[in-house]
């Protein structure tokens, strides 16, 4: 029950006191790096891959959520929620919505159901054997030349550890122009099989993808853009220096457009007005029904967004947000090339 004297319109609850430092990682997003695999599949949207799988991506962090006392649900959410809760449900804390995408190559492999991982050592041994015997017809990466692509081959895709491929190579398919490779050893034939599996892995397992050298822009043009647009807030001899050492190029390109929201300086803050009170602090969570603030004192405040409550958001990164969707690709890659030169 809300204490008397606090109107239903406000129902701000001091949930608990946590050290600000303890919650600092709540909203920390890992850098949007190339090591994060692309979307788990076409059915999951492309946005999936940059969502950090860690806590805090969508809602209250586990630490914050756990700090809500049992039964807090009867105080903060709307009356309809409170009434409808059957025994036990009220104790459930809001949890993150989506499991994050798996990050390692092996995890992506399992998620996609790609089968056993190729034997990398055997694939390395098989590479020269393949190059000498197979690449003329099937291309250097087995994508086809005179002969068909082997990475689509049913025989290759159904093979496990060379059992099908080795037998096939020993006999060939002479009637279709595929010679027998009877002179190769069994070991060599299995190594060729693993080389082929490695080619499939490189194509199909998004967890192995690496962004290439993207620094192809014109640094002089980039310098002109920076001079015209960035120096009101940033300094060539100060915060813009050394970014290339801090981040790999694709991260740099992402982060100069949309910096990670690390630290108080880049955090969204809000001023929340209710008829009888005003709060100010760092926004920890906001949805259509409540806003969670971390006040300067280190206290969390949960304000229910009832009628009469207004929320003013202040985003220190607003000029960066404004670039998204408006920045020309040429400016983007030129600025990246220029920032790479600022030692």
């Amino acid at each position: 029950m809300p204490p008397k004297g606090v109107t239903a319109a406000i129902r701000a609850v001091l949930v608990c006191v946590l050290l600000a430092s303890g919650s600092a990682d709540v909203l920390a997003q890992p850098p949007h790096g190339v090591q994060v695999p692309p979307s788990p599949d076409a059915q999951t949207p492309s946005t999936a891959q940059v969502l950090p799988p860690g806590p805090g991506a969508q809602t209250l962090s586990p630490s914050t959520a756990q700090a809500l006392p049992p039964g807090a649900g009867t105080q903060t959410p709307s009356p309809s929620t409170a009434q409808a809760l059957p025994p036990g449900l009220g104790a459930q804390t809001p949890s993150t919505a989506a499991p994050g995408p798996p990050r390692s190559a092996q995890a992506v492999r399992e998620f996609l159901g790609l089968g056993p991982a190729p034997d990398g050592e055997a694939a390395k041994r098989g590479a020269p054997v393949y190059a000498a015997n197979c690449s003329f017809c099937h291309g250097p990466q087995a994508r086809g030349a005179e002969g068909p692509s082997l990475i689509y081959s049913e025989l290759v895709l159904k093979d496990q550890h060379g059992t099908l491929i080795a037998d096939f190579l020993r006999a060939g398919r002479p009637e279709k122009g595929m010679p027998a490779f009877a002179t190769l050893t069994d070991e060599q034939r299995k190594d060729v099989a693993e080389f082929l599996h490695q080619q499939v892995e490189d194509v199909a397992n998004r967890g192995t993808f690496q962004i290439k050298n993207i620094v192809l822009g014109n640094p002089k043009k980039g310098a002109r853009y920076v001079a015209a647009h960035c120096l009101g807030c940033h300094s060539l001899t100060g915060d813009l220096r050394g970014l290339a050492e801090k981040w790999r190029p694709a991260d740099l390109q992402h982060n100069w457009i949309m910096p990670p929201r690390t630290g108080d300086r880049r955090a969204i803050t809000a001023t929340v007005h209710a008829p009888q009170a005003t709060w100010h602090g760092r926004v920890e969570q906001i949805d259509d029904f409540r806003v969670v603030l971390l006040e300067g004192s280190g206290q969390f405040v949960v304000v229910v967004r009832d009628a009469g409550v207004t929320v003013e958001l202040h985003d220190p990164l607003a000029p960066h947000v404004a670039m998204i969707g408006n920045l020309a690709d040429s400016d983007m890659i030129n600025v990246t090339a220029y920032l790479e030169t600022l030692q």
């Binding site: 599949d41 940059v50 929620t81 159901g113 049913e154 949805d287 998204i324 983007m332």
Partner: protein, 540 residues
């Protein structure tokens, strides 16, 4: 010989009782507006997910009461998926709800949420990204294992009747869709773009699982459309999954299906051309699977913009004439309204801000800007504007509802080979996405109202939520932070919400049972079932 006669009578009575208890889907209800049942993925064949029920309306929705919840507790982490997420739209037939997660089917009493039976499948591969639900024919349910198996189970017992494999998971086909049953056809689509599949839609016999016909998403040698590919080989590996159900017009005997992204996904240099019939809406004859017309919403796709979003059937009057139309809010941010008798365009316009199009061609299909394609150094354009989550159309408001995401990402080309393969690229999202519920006027394509969901972080788009509209002037959906929400359908004001244990993750359904209107939504591993509080139903 009295005794045997008594036994015989008892047996006879038992047989009668078991017939009465046996769940049997009355074929006549299929395709009818759903009121006392929800017998297909979309409730009926239109895909509009509109219910004529109005016991729950704008005046009383705030008194919705949770009657029961059903939490899946015994499954735990599945391969690559730490927590089970119910993405399926439940079926409701004769008081029983049927719903799924990957590899699992559940039957629950719709009045209490008690488990009646469950069925588990042990997969040998395939992608566990989700399972959208079931199809039903007479007393049989049709369920897909992720590894391309179609499994027919008895809706009364959960016992398996037969299984058929329609593709090979080792070739990277996988199956997540809800089979669509129309007359004596079980229509099943496939997904899979890690390895350049050739998409197809297959029609199976409901009794035996035998293939009746198979429609390939890309043309073969000498077939119409092959001119949109540089080679037959490219077309044979051109993608075009069919991984969501479609819709059906019984008068025209046409099914309408959205086709998935083109392959290789982000690397288009090896497949110059429009790449038919990927990323399209296709109209096929139900009985033959023959293509009748097509409309390509995302020609020469290089952004993973599967066009599988629901092609919703809309019947309306234009200039006093009744018209058979079809509307789709596509993943590439484009909204189209077509004449579903012939595929001719009425509306073709973006519903989010897009930078990738240079207008439309003479058929009304968007023209992709060749300057906006994944490149080695990066190219910025929109992320997917929507996805598999179900839209809704209300004939009462004339509005098409879609949960949309506005945001941008940098698309990189990774595979520069003249013959690329698989994904061939990636996208680095810029992380300031905003999610909207948009209400689009089907006559103009203009957004009549929209609600921006407050969210501190970039809105994730991996989960639903889907949408349901009702004659009670309501739209049911959820945000991405665990709130189930009811909006006013005509104005977009929030009228009810409930904080669930996870974000809403499926398409909501509604039906009348024992005179009460129920609303059922899933959030993560839990199904929530609501009715009005007795007082709000006028019961003292």
């Amino acid at each position: 010989m009295k005794h045997p006669r008594v036994v015989w009578q008892v047996l006879c009575l038992a047989a009668l009782l078991s017939t009465a208890n046996a769940n049997q889907l009355d074929a006549a209800t299929l395709g009818q507006p759903p009121t006392t049942s929800w017998p297909t993925f979309n409730g009926d064949y239109t895909g509009d997910r509109f219910s004529s029920l109005k016991q729950i309306d704008t005046s009383n929705v705030s008194s919705l009461q949770l009657q029961w919840s059903y939490r899946i507790t015994e499954v735990g982490a599945q391969r690559g998926a730490p927590v089970p997420v119910i993405k399926s739209t439940p079926l409701l037939v004769n008081g029983t709800l049927y719903f799924t997660i990957p590899n699992h089917v559940y039957a629950a009493d719709a009045r209490t949420g008690a488990t009646l039976w469950s069925y588990s499948w042990a997969d040998e591969g395939g992608h566990l990204v989700g399972n959208r639900g079931l199809g039903m024919y007479q007393s049989w349910l049709y369920f897909l294992g992720p590894d391309d198996w179609v499994i027919c189970v008895d809706s009364n017992t959960g016992k398996e009747r037969w299984r058929k494999q329609i593709a090979d998971a080792r070739l990277q086909y996988f199956t997540t869709t809800a089979p669509l049953v129309v007359r004596n056809h079980v229509l099943v689509g496939v997904g899979g773009d890690a390895m350049d599949i050739r998409g197809f839609l297959v029609s199976l016999d409901p009794e035996t699982g035998d293939v009746q016909w198979k429609w390939w998403s890309t043309p073969g040698a000498g077939e119409p459309g092959i001119e949109s590919w540089p080679s037959v080989d490219a077309a044979m590996h051109g993608g075009g999954g069919t991984w969501l159900p479609g819709t059906y017009d019984p008068e025209l005997n046409l099914i309408y299906w959205g086709t998935g992204n083109t392959n290789p996904v982000f690397a288009g240099q090896g497949r110059k051309g429009a790449n038919l019939y990927t990323t399209s809406i296709v109209a096929l004859n139900l009985d033959t699977g023959k293509l009748v017309w097509h409309f390509q919403v995302s020609p020469h796709d290089t952004h993973d913009w599967d066009n599988t979003e629901m092609p919703v059937l809309v019947d309306t009057n234009i200039d006093g004439r009744p018209r058979k139309l079809l509307a789709q809010a596509a993943r590439n941010g484009w909204f189209v309204v077509l004449d579903r008798t012939n595929g001719k365009v009425l509306v073709s316009t973006p519903y989010v801000k897009v930078n990738w199009a240079k207008g439309v061609d003479k058929r009304g299909q968007p023209i992709p800007d060749p300057a906006v394609q994944p490149t080695v150094s990066g190219s910025m354009t929109i992320i997917s504007a929507t996805n598999w989550m179900s839209p809704s159309y209300s004939p009462a408001t004339g509005l098409f509802y879609v949960n949309a995401v506005e945001g941008f990402g940098i698309y990189y080309l990774l595979d520069t080979d003249p013959k690329p393969s698989g994904y061939g690229g990636t996208v680095n999202v810029l992380g300031t996405n905003t999610r909207f519920l948009k209400a689009i006027d089907v006559n103009t394509g203009k957004v009549r109202w929209q609600h921006e969901y407050s969210n501190l972080n970039g809105a994730p788009a991996t989960l639903g939520p889907g949408l349901l509209s009702t004659a009670g002037n309501l739209v049911f959906t959820g945000d991405d932070q665990g709130n189930l929400i009811a909006f006013g359908a005509d104005q977009g004001e929030i009228l009810w919400h409930f904080r669930a244990s996870a974000a809403q993750s499926n398409g909501p359904i509604t039906y009348l049972l024992d005179g009460k209107q129920w609303v059922v939504l899933a959030a993560g591993d839990t199904l929530y079932a609501y009715t009005l509080a007795p007082a709000a139903r006028g019961i003292p």
